[in-house]
Amino acid sequence: MQRVKKPVVTAVRRPGPIPPQQDRQFFGAGFSIAAKPAKGPKYFFSTEIPDKYNETYLRALPRDPVWLFAYWEVSGETVELLRRHVGEDVFNKSKWVLRVLDVTDLVYNGSNAWRQTDIDLAPYATTWYVKVWEADRSYMLQVGIVTPDSRFFSAVNSNAAQMPRNTVSAVLDEEWTTASTDELIRLSGFPTGKMLGASQNSSEFSTVQAAGGLASGSGSGSMS
């Protein structure tokens, strides 16, 4: 048998439907000259998508305990508003920054962040990965300009992004609660009326008689 060189496998979990191998450079060609097209016209859906939406927005998406991903767009209109607000001259001498604010447990009023920092933005940047100070806190971003005399004007504010924990919680007080009868009945594998949709109410047990009453689990090697 002829031998094909074995590729290096680096995937540990979740290998995916086919192995990480074989560069699919041929793919584009493969699709357009597929050997046996179906009868009738072939249709290729467009893959043209816009670079931007001509709107102003800023999104902060938490990625892991200390990193968040920011993407934004500042529309021409917004830029123009800013320019008129600070004046042409000052605007041209200002720099664009991404301001990071620690707003944990507070409503930000423009000056009450626990801490903040400015990141100078490269021209035409529309995304950024931000490393924050600490996990398990809430951060907000702003994209705006800093004038030569250090005044900041925000073009857009983001949502508040709650970062996850990367340690065990220090809170030890325990609270306990018990599932309701309804919930236990559903967990026992008992079919009920349709949960969603206008037609039925979730507490209708339409097959009580047919199933011969409540069964306590299925008894097949499960709980004793």
Binding site: G16, P20, E174, G221
Partner: protein, 535 residues
């Protein structure tokens, strides 16, 4: 049907979860489309072999309980007539190839035995698929659930990574509700559990699950371990999400490593079948041409003759009996370790521990060829060779332990590094600007048109389909792992572009019905979807 249980009073429980999922790939525009092979390979190597294992256990009256998640895209493909027909064509070709292989290897006993093994297995597959199940194997899984040996849970509608949608509640709600509706249509009952795509959980997700009647889900270990307040039992008991009775179960790390680890896990054993020596690559092109991609690209056929042998390029011939013996040994080893683990936990906990062991279903049979056999041996050993532990599902555990600690689990996933990085990094972060804009537009359109007439309603429904398909976490995953990147990028862009075009047509009040019909027939998942789920 009565299945006698031999378990009197185990010290603890093991909850095995098989997560079966493939992204929605259906290309009626071509008679042959390479990526559809993912489905055909999985049917041949995973889903039918698992069905065969379960059916044999039932026939032998072996008690067991396994949880399986079957995602809506997978179920949609398995119940699609065109894909079913293409699968029959696929398995017929494989049988033909196996017959040729039996002839080609007739003078080489070691290889010939293996060739016959494939011929037998492929023939069995065809018989189970066509004769027993009339091409609908989902019904077979449903039957096993109705019998009580399988608990089938659902998953996000298109396996969207929910933490990346957290800022648009309508988007999350739709992924959950469309999934639940689809599940009800298929299985005739409401799902009680949900497999969160990639175990992606964030604080607040439980509210959507609760509203849809979902009572439990799974997280990676740190989702529970980092919960607030600290969970008393670690991952060995569930916690209710604060303010609800939606339970979160955490994955056990030890039992995961023994199966998943590329270094220490069972699948890397030298006697098991080597995945990367497929005849699709090894044999002469003229011989193998009819069985690979029609334009001549070599692909996996599923027929492989070598075993792993070791960290060497020189591979020895596969020996099925030796592999099965090893699988049995590994099953015994897994059982022994879980038994020790449970004995220890039971001695320090004031309730029975549960060990949650979730795996991708496709690991069993496709990546790890002997996986289904291992599972078969494990289930039988649990039933007859010990009484320390028994299988259970999350539902069983909650029914027996309705009182649990209330905690807020941590945002987490089971992806590399434990949070969102796999789906949010250099190769795929460009997606989210578009996905979030689509979500916003979908909600706007749904709210603006509470009672859409025929064509408008169809358009809004199709917009919902395009959005859901664009949200599949599979595309971002493929971009990150670098496998079929061009396909993933193309799919993402197509769905974004289709959506945007439909949106513009709705805003402009001029709908191209031909284009709409074309989209409806191509991207036809969730035929009964109602766009109002986004309102």
């Amino acid at each position: 049907m009565e299945i006698a249980s031999r378990k009197n009073d185990p010290l603890g429980h093991v909850c095995i979860v098989l997560h079966a999922h493939l992204p929605y790939v259906r290309h009626q525009e071509c008679e042959y489309f390479l990526e559809e092979n993912w489905l055909f390979e999985a049917i041949t190597e995973t889903y039918i072999p698992l069905l065969a294992v379960f059916e044999n256990l039932v026939a032998d009256r072996v008690p067991f309980k396994i949880t399986m998640s079957m995602t809506p895209p997978l179920v949609s493909m398995l119940t699609d007539a065109m894909l079913q027909e293409r699968y029959v064509r696929h398995i017929d070709r494989l049988i033909e190839l196996a017959e040729k292989e039996c002839v080609r290897t007739k003078n080489d006993p070691a290889f010939n035995r293996t060739a016959h093994m494939y011929l037998d297995k492929f023939t069995m597959c065809r018989s189970v698929f066509v004769d027993v199940n009339k091409c609908d194997i989902v019904k077979n899984f449903r039957k096993l659930q109705d019998l009580g040996v399988l608990e089938i849970i659902t998953c996000g509608a298109t396996h969207g990574f929910l933490p990346n949608m957290q800022f648009n509640p309508h988007a999350v709600k739709a992924q959950v509700e469309v999934a639940v509706e689809s599940y009800y249509e298929t299985f005739g009952r409401n799902p009680v559990g949900m497999w969160l795509p990639e175990c992606g959980y964030y604080n607040g997700l439980e509210k959507f699950l609760e509203a849809a009647g979902i009572l439990y889900f799974f997280t990676d270990a740190h989702g529970i371990l980092f919960a607030e307040p600290r969970p008393k039992y670690g991952v060995f008991a569930p916690v209710y999400c604060k303010g609800t009775h939606v339970a979160a179960f955490g994955r056990d790390i030890e039992s995961s490593k023994s199966v998943w680890s590329s270094k220490e896990g069972y699948p890397g054993d030298i006697d098991y079948r080597e995945f990367y020596r497929d005849i699709g690559f090894d044999l002469d092109i003229d011989y193998i041409r009819p069985y690979i991609d029609p334009i001549g690209i070599r692909i996996n056929t599923g027929i492989k003759y070598y075993r792993i042998t070791g960290k060497t390029d020189h591979k020895e011939p596969y020996n099925q009996q030796a592999a099965l013996d090893k699988a049995s040994q590994h099953a015994g080893n897994f059982l022994f370790n879980r038994g020790k683990q449970i004995e220890y936990l039971a001695s320090i906990m004031d309730r029975k521990p549960i060990i949650v062991a979730p795996y991708d279903a496709e690991l069993f049979g496709h990546w790890w060829y002997e996986g289904p056999d291992w599972l078969n041996y494990l289930i039988r050993k649990v039933a007859f060779e010990q009484n320390v532990l028994s299988f259970c599902t999350a539902s069983d555990y909650l029914t027996a332990n309705p009182r649990n600690q209330s905690c807020s689990p941590s945002f987490s996933s089971w992806g590399f590094k434990g949070y969102s990085e796999v789906w949010l990094e250099g190769s795929n972060d460009w997606l989210y600007r578009h996905l979030h804009k689509m979500e916003e537009r979908m909600v706007e359109a749904a709210q603006e048109h509470p009672e859409a007439g025929d064509v408008l309603r169809r358009t809004l429904n199709q917009m919902a389909r395009e959005l859901l398909l664009a949200q599949s976490s599979d595309w971002a995953f493929i971009m990150k792992t670098g496998t079929m990147v061009q396909y993933a990028v193309r799919r993402s862009k197509e769905h974004i572009a289709n959506f945007n075009r439909l949106y513009d047509e709705v805003k402009g009040e001029r709908i191209d019905e031909n284009f709409l019909s074309l989209l409806e027939s191509h991207n036809n998942i969730f035929p009964h979807i109602n766009y109002r789920v986004y309102a």
